[in-house]
């Protein structure tokens, strides 16, 4: 009991000093806000040449349009986790504090378990962590090809009158420009000096 009280006191002391030391750091300058859009929906899109059409047409299903409208209305809640954390330093600090406490108490538990020679439990925890780590590495190796590959054949397909399909992020950009822009990820595959 006495040891736990001493440990807790040490932990609190360390945390309080950390807070004060952070107080000496100058406030970072506000970074200028980028004018880039925010992704509200990821879906698929096909580009289809139509020799009989007089105007380009953009066809969107009603449900997709409703989803876009809905997401556009909730832009603030659709921020990524990192963005949300950046906007709330208090929450980040609280999360950090509790992570610190979790690791500290896990250490105490680890030490107590070692005293009781509970090696099986510790070994299983390490094994589990290793398995998760390896699984993460393996899963990343199975990631699909980058999205731009699907769009590589667009110029040739347009010339041949064929359909090209691929993934598309629908972004809402700031401003009141009425122009709709389609940005296609085409990589220049020509070798140097080939042009």
């Amino acid at each position: 009991m006495k040891r736990t009280v001493v440990l807790c006191a040490a932990v609190l002391l360390l945390v309080s000093t950390a807070v004060y030391s952070f107080g000496d750091i100058a406030r970072p300058k506000d970074t200028p806000k980028s004018s880039e859009g925010k992704t509200v929906l990821y879906t698929s899109m096909t580009v289809k040449p139509d020799p009989k059409a007089y105007e380009a047409r953009l066809q969107i299903s009603q449900s997709t349009l409703q989803r876009i409208a809905h997401e556009a209305g909730n832009l603030s809640s659709n921020d990524s986790m990192t963005q949300r954390l950046v906007h709330s330093s208090a929450r980040t600090m609280m999360a950090g504090l509790f992570m610190f406490l979790a690791v500290s108490f896990a250490g105490v538990w680890f030490a107590r378990s070692s005293q009781r020679r509970n090696h099986k439990a510790i070994a299983s925890v390490f094994l589990l962590a290793t398995v998760f780590g390896l699984a993460t590495v393996i899963v990343r190796a199975n990631a699909g090809p980058p999205g731009y590959l699907r769009w590589q054949g667009l110029p040739q397909n347009l010339k041949a009158g064929k359909i090209t399909g691929g993934g598309v992020n629908i972004e809402i950009v700031p401003g009141d420009d009425s122009e709709i822009r389609l940005i296609v990820p085409l990589r220049n595959t020509n070798q140097p000096g080939e042009e």
Binding site: M81, M94, A95, F98, M99
Partner: protein, 351 residues
């Protein structure tokens, strides 16, 4: 001579073996029936929840939300010891936590609707409440662990703190996780009761539980590509929001509502059908099955009054649903946090 020996052997067969064989056969049949009912109910529930999620959600909450709370109250009274003894501290912390956390949970929307709080720091308030909940659970676990010297539940502390950290990273997502995890607690209660009252059913029950992740994966596979539900009226919007449509905008709201309804129906099924059938709540009309009423100097009249009053509240809930379903649904899901909290100490008492 040989015939005579055979006759003698037959005569020597102990009569006591026959009832045992009959009992074994009866047990096998009952286990099979139990498994069949579990599998059929789970499959039917999954199909209904996937097919008509909004409609089934409305009907299910209307019919079963109140009664399942009554059965839970009846069950908790049954599990409450006649005298607290060494568990006095445990129950003191448990009841204080239930009261304080419920009051705090109800205070948040109340303050907002009374214009006493703008709700601007809503995520921080939710994160604080979740943290208090986790710390309360941690305290209960430690207190329960101390009641038996062979238990060392110290490892739960780092887990609790890690959960607190995750909660502060995404408070609303953490609350949503509670919404989805809470129905599964009923399955844990059923497990503990089978362990005590029908241990021969337990392996079958565990095998049936494997079906649950399979059904969930099947629902995700079937519904993840479907278009979101049209939440164009207030009630449908509330249901999709409750299932997390706003927090998980890239997931089809049909999938979210279906999954939530599926889990809720399982939860109601366990409390209203499974646990009373295996005798976990005692004969519902007999107050004397409750220790607090049975003991010398107990409170049978008070317990009976509490149960009758609760029945009246269930009736009132049905009336409220009939008059204004959306508003009553909001009120119910706010007040229902009390039963979510109450499950924790009683589950811990069974571990």
């Amino acid at each position: 001579m040989l015939t005579a020996t055979r006759m003698e052997r037959t005569a020597n067969i102990p009569f006591t073996a026959w009832p045992n064989a009959l009992a074994r056969s009866r047990t096998r049949t009952s286990v099979r029936s139990f498994a069949l009912v579990l599998v059929a109910s789970a499959c039917l529930t999954a199909v209904l929840a996937s097919w008509l999620p909004l409609q089934v959600s409305i009907v299910t909450v209307f019919l079963f939300a109140g009664p399942h709370n009554w059965f839970e109250l009846r069950y908790f009274l049954m599990r409450l010891p006649a005298r607290f003894g060494r568990s006095r501290n445990f129950f003191a912390v448990a009841f204080a936590g239930i009261f304080f956390l419920t009051a705090a949970y109800l205070a948040m929307p109340a303050l907002y609707y009374l214009n006493l709080w703008s709700g601007s720091n809503w995520p921080d308030a939710i994160a604080t409440w979740n943290t208090l909940l986790l710390l309360w659970l941690g305290a209960l676990v430690i207190l329960r662990g101390k009641q038996n010297s062979r238990r060392d539940w110290f490892w739960t502390l780092p887990v609790v703190f890690m959960l607190c950290a995750l909660n502060w990273l995404g408070p609303q997502l953490f609350s949503l996780a509670i919404v989805y995890a809470h129905p599964l607690v009923a399955l844990w209660f059923l497990d503990r009761h089978l362990r005590r009252t029908r241990p021969q059913w337990l392996p079958t029950y565990h095998r049936c539980l494997i079906l649950l992740p399979l059904l969930i994966v099947g629902m995700i596979w079937q519904l993840s590509r479907t278009s979101s539900l049209a939440d164009d009226n207030g009630l449908f919007w509330r249901i999709t929001q409750h299932a997390g449509a706003d927090l998980l905008p890239r997931v089809s709201s049909r999938l979210l509502v279906s999954l939530h309804v599926f889990l809720e129906m399982l939860h109601y099924g366990v409390w209203i059908i499974a646990l009373p059938l295996i005798g976990a709540t005692g004969a519902v009309w007999k107050v004397r099955t409750i220790p607090l009423a049975r003991r010398r100097g107990g409170f049978p009249k008070l317990i009976a009054a509490v149960l009758v009053f609760s029945l009246f509240v269930v009736g009132l809930l049905w009336f409220g649903f009939s008059v204004n379903y959306p508003a009553m649904r909001d009120v119910y899901f706010a007040v229902a946090i009390a039963h979510v909290l109450a499950e924790a100490p009683f589950l811990l008492r069974m571990i």
